[in-house]
Every structure is written in structure tokens, then in C-alpha cells.
Amino acid sequence: MTQQTVTAQVTPHMDVSWRARLRRFTTPAFFTGPAFVLVFLFFFLPVILTILISLTDMSVATISDIKFVGLKNYIRIWRSRTTWKILRNTFIYVGFTLTFFNVGLALVLALITTHIPDRWGTAFRTFWLLPRITPSVIYAIMWTWFTADAPYGIVNQFLQIFGVEPRNWMSAQPWLVVIAANGFVGASFGMIIFTSAIRSIPVDFLRAALVDGASTWQRIRYVILPMIRWPILFVVSYQTLSLLASFEYILLLTDGGPGFYTTEVWSLHAYHRALSNYFGNVQFGYGAALAAILVVIGVIASVIYLRVFRFNEMVAEPKIEVI
């Protein structure tokens, strides 16, 4: 009798606590689940597959008989004469695009559009965002026309006025075209972030600077730039990673040329090797090894940025601007 009573009392109690414990697990799982599935399916799984493929000799020729080859692909990359050229290209591409456009030009645009009447500023920024919503192929074709060889090409026709010899700009200055084409699109991201950061500086600081005797330039130098330090670092880190992985404009504009790997960057090289080599020689394994190295570089860079720049503080600051 006594035992039965005890059991009867205990069971519902245990039941409640079991359910509560389950709910404590299910609610977070319900909310984080979709994101977790997406990240797993589209990030972790591809990375693991890439690494697995990179350890094989998988190619079109060997597709029916794939062999595990260990680190052979990586050793080939290390020994390849082109590797260093491509690495150098990647640094040129990322470094220059980042410095002069994605951060530099973005900062200039944000500063200009916040120092002119608001209506004009907003209109200008909206205008500048157009390439972002233009399909990449159309944007690239426009650059191709823009820089086309004489007697065509807007650049040629414009520069002729100043007596500049017409030329095929894409082959004469491939880096300039590649970096500018990427940069003009890329700058819009930083421009938006910097604009909202500048806007969120309390107006008293800007007024105090004027009263303290600052000129416009001094106010930018001593007050505005230090106060948007974190957004700047955020854009630097974020854009480094996106530039490392991006190649579609280079693919569409020069396809790594002209000539031998002149503008071939690491991610484009991986694409060429793995998916777009001349027929019969598509080397999945070798391309995967190249991609895996890029992933490692990206992960290392993000860890450094996360730690050095204290990422959490950076993303907390800007308010999103509605256009």
C-alpha cells in the first residue's frame, strides 16, 4: 500500500521534469535547427567532401577508378612553378581592391555623401548600389565594352580628347580593369556600413569639433574616423574573406589572362583546375586541394580577425540604413 502511494506520487513528478527537460532542449533546437542544418549541408559537408576529394586522384579520366593518393595533390601544388605567381596575384588582387576600393573608396563615398545635403547623398548611394543588383555577366559585359579596343570603347573615346593613344585596355592594363571592376561594386558594401556608422555618431560630437575649431578635414581626421574605427575593421576583415573567395568578375573579364596566368588568382585557379580545364583534363582532386588550402587560409584569417579586432564589438555598432 505504502509503496504504491509513493510510486503514484513520484511518477507524475518525474514525468513533469522529463518534459521540462525535453522542452529546454527542443525550444533552442527548434530555433537554431534550420540554421544548423543549412550550415552543415552547405558549409561543413562541402568542406569535408572537398578535403576528401583532395586526397584522391579524381579526374574525368579516372572517374571510374578513383584512387586514394594521400597528400600527393598538395605536394604537386607546393612544387608547381605557377603556385607562387598565383599566390602573388591573389595578394595583389585582394590587397589593392581592398585598400583602394572596398575600404578606401567606400570611406570617401560615405564621407562625401554624409557631408552633402541628405537627399543628394541618399540618391547617390542608391545609384552606386545599381551594379550590386545587376547580374554579374551584364556588369562584366559592360566593362568589356567600356574598355574595348579602338575604335570602340568609352574609355578610348574619352581619353582621346586628352590625346591618349587608344588601346585595348583589357590586355594593356588587365590588373587595373580587374581591380576597378571589382572595386566599384565592392565599395558599395563599405559605403553603406560607413554611412550608417557616421550617421550614428551623436551630433554633439560633430558640433563640439566645429566649436573646438576643427575644419571639415580635421573633424574627419580627429573625430569621425576614430569613432568609426570598428566598422572600418569589420569591413576590412569581411571584405578580405569575400575577395579571397571571389573570382566571377575575373573569370568573365580576363579569365585569368591575358597570356600566362597574368590575372589568375587562387580561387579562379581552383575553378579552372577542377571544373573548366580543357576537355579531358578536369582534375577534381587537384582543384579540391587548391580549394582546401583557400579554406584553411580563410579560417586562419577569420580566427585572427575575430580575436584581434574583437568582432562582437564591431558588429554591434552600425545601425542598418534603410534605402
Binding site: P202, D204, F205, R207, A208, L210, V211, D212, G213, A214, S215, Q218, Y222, V223, P226, M227, R229
Partner: protein, 361 residues
């Protein structure tokens, strides 16, 4: 430095933030711009600072029009409500920032910043960042930054609003003392009438962008020029009753339902001479109405609000108007009690109900 505002106006689109403002501020004077929020006082200050460009009118510093002068060329110091201390600079860097912009050599920058900081009693905090300071210390740094370049004019935009009540009292005294010692012409924007009354030599009351009155605190309190000023200055506020002005047996009398006040001869004569009709607004401050068994006005206590040193009694006259009465604390009365009131007729105020201007001063 003498400051003159001549027909000064500032429009934001359709909104007239400041409307035809005329003000003459003497050299070394401490003037408060007082008014409710949105009255145009901060806009006026920002025009004097050179941050807003006036739509119309002129701003004179001494014998020079400064309308087109950039803020940096006006030699003004300004203290903001938020203090606006640059968070990325140390106290020293903040204070010496105006000198750095003027390209003053480092050694002199140090000397001058230290001297001002010592005067403000923050000389030992030079290496701190603003976030490591208390509100009162930040306030002093802001003041030091405004003073370091030895400005001709000091501008204050509600500088004490962010301090706690006790500190505000201390800083009020210190600011006033400092201003008198340095003799710098100062313009002080506030919505707090106590601040304006206690600190300023003269107070300009603004409402909807227009100047209501510009006079000494004493005049403002005892001889208000307009109904708005009379109601805005003083706490608890002045009582107002719609009344009629009549002559009875050679005396000038103010009458309303349940109320009859004989004005002193001098006031009566003046009111009668200026009144355009017999309709007036009668005003009297709560401290000038007393509970008095001999009094000739009947009333009923509506509510008792103890203020500590005094009790504020809301009394309902027979006509229904409610009258605030300040009486010594601990009155043996409660809601519903019938009492008699005595008015100090010599402290009466009379206003024209149409123009809202005083009929007395």
C-alpha cells in the same frame, strides 16, 4: 564681448524655430535662454555658435557681424548637455584639442591644459578616458575644454541636466562663481527656471520661437510681462482666474464669482488706465494667499499636498475656480473642510485676456 541679435530668425522648412529675435547681451553678462522644449532656445545658441546659419537677421559680436564666420573663427567655448567628450581621447587630449587645432606648441598646450584642469579640480585625471570618469568629472572636463582657448563667449546647452540633483546644485554655484571670476560673456540655455533664475543676470524667456521677455530674475518673478511668463516662472505656479475689473466707491476692484479683491490705489489706477475692457485675467502666487479665519473669501479644501517645508493646499472657491495656497506645513485641515482665504492684494497681477500682456508693469 558684447553680443547682439538683431531680427534673428531661423526657419526649418515651414517651421519657424526662431522668429524675429532681438537681444542685447552686455559684455561679461550671464544671460539665460529659458523656455519649454521646442521654444527655439537651442537653435538660437547654435546660431550664435555658428553651427546653424540664420535665415534672416544679424548676429553681432562686439562691432562685427559674424553671420558668415565659421565656428572655428568665432572664439567661442561651448558646453553640451551630453558633454560631447571625445571617447577615444584622454582627458588631456580632450582639453587640449582646441589648442592642437590652433597648432599651439605641445609644451604650451600642456601648460595651459594643466592650468585649466587644476582650476576645475581635475588636474589629477589627465590620463583617463572619459568613460572612466563620473558624470561630475566629465562635466568639469567639458568645461575645461571650453575654457582652455580663453574664449570671448561661453555657450552652455543645458549643461547640468545630466547630473544628479545634489551635484547639480553644487555645479550651479561653481559655474556662477567661475563666470563672475572670469568675466566671460555667457549664454546659458535651460528649461529649468530655477537654474535660470539662480544663475543668470538676465533671463530671456522664449516661447514658440519668439522672445516673451528679457529681464532680471527679480522682474521676471515679481513683475512678469506676459501671462506665459507669469505661469511659466515659479513653482508651484501662479493662480489665474478670469475676472472683471470694476470701480466701486472710488476703489478699483477685481471680481469673480466668490471672489472680490480691492486693489491698492497705485495698481488700480494703472490697471484701469491700460485695460481695454473690463475683462481681465487675475493672477496671484500661492505664497501670497493665506488661510485666515478673518479672510473674506470662502473656499473649500480640495486636496492637501505636503511639500515638506510647506503644504500646498488646493482650494475651491465658490465660483468653482481652484486656487493653490502655500501654507506652513502641518495645517490642521483636510479635504472638504471649509476655510477662509486672505489675498495679499499688493502682489496681484493683471493681464489682458486678448494680448496676454500685463496691465501693471
Amino acid at each position: 564681448m558684447e553680443v547682439r541679435l538683431v531680427h534673428l530668425s531661423k526657419y526649418f522648412g515651414e517651421v519657424r524655430a526662431v522668429n524675429d529675435l532681438n537681444l542685447e547681451i552686455k559684455s561679461g553678462e550671464f544671460v539665460a535662454l529659458l523656455g519649454p522644449s521646442g521654444c527655439g532656445k537651442t537653435t538660437t545658441l547654435l546660431m550664435i555658435a555658428g553651427i546653424y546659419i540664420p535665415t534672416e537677421g544679424e548676429i553681432w559680436f562686439g562691432d562685427r557681424i559674424v553671420n558668415d564666420l565659421l565656428p572655428k573663427d568665432r572664439n567661442i567655448g561651448m558646453v553640451f548637455q551630453s558633454y560631447a567628450l571625445y571617447p577615444h581621447m584622454t582627458v588631456f587630449e580632450n582639453i587640449s584639442f582646441p589648442l592642437k587645432l590652433k597648432k599651439v606648441p605641445m609644451a604650451e598646450r600642456r601648460k595651459r591644459a594643466q592650468r585649466v584642469a587644476d582650476m576645475m579640480q581635475i588636474g589629477h585625471l589627465m590620463d583617463r578616458k572619459p568613460a572612466q570618469l563620473s558624470g561630475g568629472q566629465q562635466q568639469r572636463v567639458a568645461l575645461a575644454r571650453a575654457l582652455v582657448k580663453e574664449p570671448d563667449i561661453l555657450l552652455f546647452d543645458e549643461p547640468l541636466s545630466n547630473l544628479d540633483a545634489k551635484l547639480r546644485l553644487t555645479m550651479r554655484g561653481e559655474l556662477k562663481r567661475l563666470q563672475k571670476d572670469l568675466g566671460i560673456t555667457s549664454i546659458y540655455v535651460t528649461h529649468d527656471q530655477v537654474e535660470a533664475m539662480t544663475m543668470a543676470d538676465r533671463v530671456a524667456v522664449l516661447r514658440d520661437g519668439r522672445l516673451q521677455t528679457f529681464s532680471t530674475p527679480d522682474d521676471l518673478y515679481n513683475r512678469p510681462q506676459t501671462l506665459f511668463v507669469a505661469g511659466f516662472i515659479g513653482s508651484p505656479p501662479m493662480n489665474f482666474i478670469d475676472a472683471t475689473l470694476v470701480q466701486e466707491n472710488g476703489k478699483v476692484v477685481v471680481k469673480a464669482e466668490g471672489m472680490r479683491i480691492e486693489l491698492p490705489d497705485e495698481l488700480g489706477k494703472r490697471a484701469l488706465a491700460r485695460a481695454k475692457s473690463d475683462r481681465v485675467v487675475y493672477g496671484i502666487r500661492p505664497e501670497h494667499v493665506h488661510l485666515d479665519p478673518e479672510g473674506d473669501i470662502e473656499a473649500e479644501i480640495y486636496v492637501v499636498e505636503p511639500l515638506g517645508r510647506e503644504d500646498l493646499l488646493d482650494c475651491r472657491l465658490l465660483g468653482g475656480s481652484v486656487m493653490g495656497v502655500l501654507a506652513p506645513a502641518g495645517q490642521p485641515v483636510g479635504p472638504g473642510d471649509k476655510v477662509r482665504l486672505r489675498f495679499e492684494a499688493e502682489h496681484s497681477q493683471l493681464f489682458d485676456p486678448e494680448t496676454e500682456h500685463t496691465l501693471l508693469w
